[in-house]
């Protein structure tokens, strides 16, 4: 059982965390045709935009209600209305993701009331879903905002699917893709699920929007991701697989709303974690009857159970086992210090532990039930100054690009993970989950140690 320490400082020095609205905007970017709209001062949007643009090296469509001192005091209704109408006129979004900020939460705008009255005044917006999420800057971190946005996405009503639509005979599975997953990870998950003959409905699907691809035309809204018509199909999913503990509340909402059973996979890197995922998919795919699945009772059930793992992944599993053998020389006994958001911290630290590495220090951004179950005695909710104080003497530091100067100061190599990563290319396609992604991670780390002659 890990002890959780909160730093008692009044000042955050070299902050590790980003704001919840940034996380919510990131989640929204995984929907197709959306523009995330920050209800706040224009700087709230500008800073988030600059960070995401620099991380993904992509145009990122984010908008602002451009609140001023006066409009803040008077209330933001007019600005929200004007912003929505302007976006609809200029960019014709299929969805708007509206999120609050510290400024408008402090003021206390009645967002539901405002949205209701805007809808009354503008029936022409009836067909435009506006997904609303409350994300005060002063409560939580990126992971919390991301998770809150996913809850709003699955709560929002997108209307009934058109009857003429042709529903594939494939069985659909909802995948809730937590903020620990990068676009490349989501793409890998999609491929894996499809390989089982299942149809993944991924929320949010960053692999279609910020994966880094060249479109034919200029996009003023997200060019890909989960579409509104896919969101209308949510209730048809046989099962929900939530990746990342922070996705649990959204999975629960889907269960309450549609009766869809779920399984939480807190991690998707490492042999056992991926085994579990594939085994779960095999069980879902082999379930021939309509209705809902109880995977834990599978052995006692009378339905036909004949799990099949695609040969590609059987082979990848053997490749990973070989990679584990090859890399264990370099990773075994190494002391690693990490500063990551809770879900990513859990996934990465356990994988390292399973490779024989030691976790010297763990720093994170926000609360999570997982923090009690880390492979280390103590975890600090804090900043990069805390990491600097704890990391001395470790063989490797894992955190975002902001850790560069402390890593240089301590003369410890830095492996970049999380947000933001400014000084590495390919953040849109990097994959560190599944058998293949786990291998990549092990090779990356092994190569760092080989380079250093460790």
């Amino acid at each position: 059982m890990t002890t959780i320490t909160r730093n008692k400082k009044s000042v955050a020095v070299n902050p590790l965390k980003q704001s919840p609205p940034l996380g919510a905007a990131l989640a929204f970017l995984g929907l197709k045709g959306i523009i995330p709209l920050f209800h706040g001062s224009q700087g709230c949007t500008a800073f988030a935009k600059v960070l995401l643009v620099r991380h993904f090296r992509e145009a990122i469509p984010l908008a602002t209600t451009a609140m001023t001192e006066v409009t803040t005091i008077l209330g933001g209704e007019e600005n929200i209305e004007q912003a929505i109408l302007t976006l609809v006129e200029k960019a014709q979004p299929d969805l708007i993701g509206l999120l609050t900020t510290g400024l408008t939460e402090t003021r206390g705008d009645d967002m539901h009331g405002i949205l209701k009255s805007i809808r009354q005044r503008h029936p022409e917006l009836d067909s435009l879903p506006i997904i609303f999420v409350s994300t005060p800057d002063y409560k939580g971190a990126l992971q919390d905002g991301f998770a809150a946005a996913v809850q709003s996405i699955v709560t929002t009503d997108y209307g009934q699917p058109l009857e003429t639509q042709n529903f594939a005979s494939q069985q659909q599975v909802t995948i809730l893709a937590g903020s620990l997953l990068a676009p490349g990870d989501v793409e890998e998950i999609q491929e894996i699920v499809e390989a089982f003959g299942l149809k993944p409905l991924i929320i949010p699907d960053l692999s279609g929007s910020v994966d880094g691809h060249l479109d034919d035309d200029y996009n003023s809204k997200t060019p890909g991701g989960t579409s509104p018509s896919q969101l209308q199909q949510l209730e048809r999913s046989l099962f929900t697989i939530a990746i990342g503990e922070s996705m649990r509340p959204a999975a629960e909402i889907l269960q309450q709303k549609f009766g869809t059973n779920y399984e939480i996979l807190p991690r998707l890197a490492g042999l056992a974690a991926v085994d579990k995922f594939l085994w779960l998919l095999a069980q879902i795919a082999s379930y021939k009857n309509s209705g809902f699945l109880e995977p834990r009772q599978s052995r006692n059930c009378d339905w036909q159970f004949n799990p099949q793992i695609p040969s590609k992944y059987q082979r990848q599993r053997r490749q990973l086992q070989d990679a584990i053998l090859d890399t264990h020389f370099y990773l075994g006994g190494k002391k690693v210090s990490l500063a990551l958001e809770p879900d990513l911290l859990y996934q990465t630290s356990w994988l390292l532990k399973e490779m024989g590495a030691e976790i010297q220090a763990a720093v994170t951004t926000t609360k999570s039930p997982l923090l009690k179950e880390l492979p280390i005695e103590r975890v600090t909710i804090g900043d990069l100054e805390d990491l600097e104080n704890l990391a001395e003497g470790s063989d490797l530091i894992i955190t975002n690009s902001q850790g560069k100067s402390l890593a240089e100061k301590l003369n410890i190599p830095l492996y970049r993970m999380g947000y933001p990563i400014y000084d590495r290319l390919g953040n849109g396609s990097r994959c560190l989950v599944g058998y293949r992604g786990t291998m990549q991670f092990l090779f990356d780390l092994g190569n760092i140690f080989i380079e250093l002659g460790h």
């Binding site: 224009q42 643009v53 602002t64 001023t68 004007q82 510290g102 400024l103 409560k139």
Partner: protein, 457 residues
Amino acid sequence: MTKPKIADLLNEPGCEHNHKKGQQGKNKACTQQAKPGAAQGGCAFDGASIALVPITDAAHLVHGPIACAGNSWGSRGSLSSGATTYKMGFTTDISENDIIFGGEKRLYKAIAQVINRYHPPAVFVYSTCVTALIGDDLDAVCEAATNKFATPIIPVNSPGFVGSKNLGNRLAGESLLDYVVGTAEPEYTTPYDINLIGEYNIAGELWGVLPLLEKVGIRVLSKITGDATFEEIRYAHRAQLNVMICSKALINMGRKMEESYGIPYIEESFYGIEDMNRCLRNIAQKLADVELQQRVETVIAEETAKLDVALAPYRARLKGKRMVLYTGGVKSWSIMSAAQDLGMEVTATSTKKSTEEDKAKIKQLLGKDGIALSKGNAQELLRVIAKTKADMLVAGGRNQYTALKARIPFLDINQERHKPYAGYEGLIEMAKEFDRALHSPIWQQVRQPAPWELVSG
């Protein structure tokens, strides 16, 4: 921040936005409100940070929730030749409790912790929307802390919601005027002491110009604020001349230092041969020293001769290439003049943040076929590029992907740029970058359809 003060800054008489236009056009650019849904710019806090964070040895403490510092710290492009304290992120990271009970105590403790652990010569404390809204008295906390810790703790009252980045720049200037300039004396002064104002040493640009100034015998007393120490800004009031660089942003500093200390100011640019020459000549003329003027002429002759040789191969390759330029204020003509030095043609440029004076220069440089863009969202820029058959877009980082995604060569000219383009050396660098961008072998590949896309179906 008091309302009258903000109104004063918006009506800054040193800024041509605010006069020469009669009653009707008054204050257009400075007071224009950001449009909900369309605005894409930064806030006043962003502007204040841009102007002050380059002070390398100071600590910059943001009093607000995590968004303001957490999403932005460490990402400024200003370089330092010494201290790196400015690259650290400090924030009170306020929680819901602080909002309910007030954040002043937390701020005071935060200042104490920063001083005890990092011993900076000064701390700049920035208010933000939330802490301004809950009424935290920044000035009072800073005053108490200054007295207690015997270290200047400077309040910067620039919450994002008071206005644009530009206003934030000026609010930062006010903090320097009120709390920093005039609080210390230089070791010695010379008749050739100038201040550079509004130069932030992005990508080390300052380092391309300082040797030139040194060579002709001009001493830069205070750099405001690129690669500056806190101490040097304190004695800026002893300079003979303020040189405002490519920027109306800190114009209030120039004007008020003229009022308070009798220091005249001139507005100059470091981009392109013509502008660099003019800058050196104007400084020498203002300092009214014949020998200095002669030295300037000698250096100009030397440098331009060297430059002609160095630029010859690039001029040959760049001749007749067409660009659309989208940037702000002074740069919309200063970069144009640099491009024309290289034989390139500017088919369109922005006038969005330009003064009447800027616009006159733009008109002159553009010629009769050039387009003056008064607004420029991504679609509009792409339309103008297509219409004028431009070969590339030269703009700020925000438009980088507008160009790249449309498979158009791009050069970053604003804050986020990675190469120094100032001074004579900078022009060579700019020529190289234009050449690399325009003649890269990649353009054909990214425009090439796949074989299967060519099959008519």
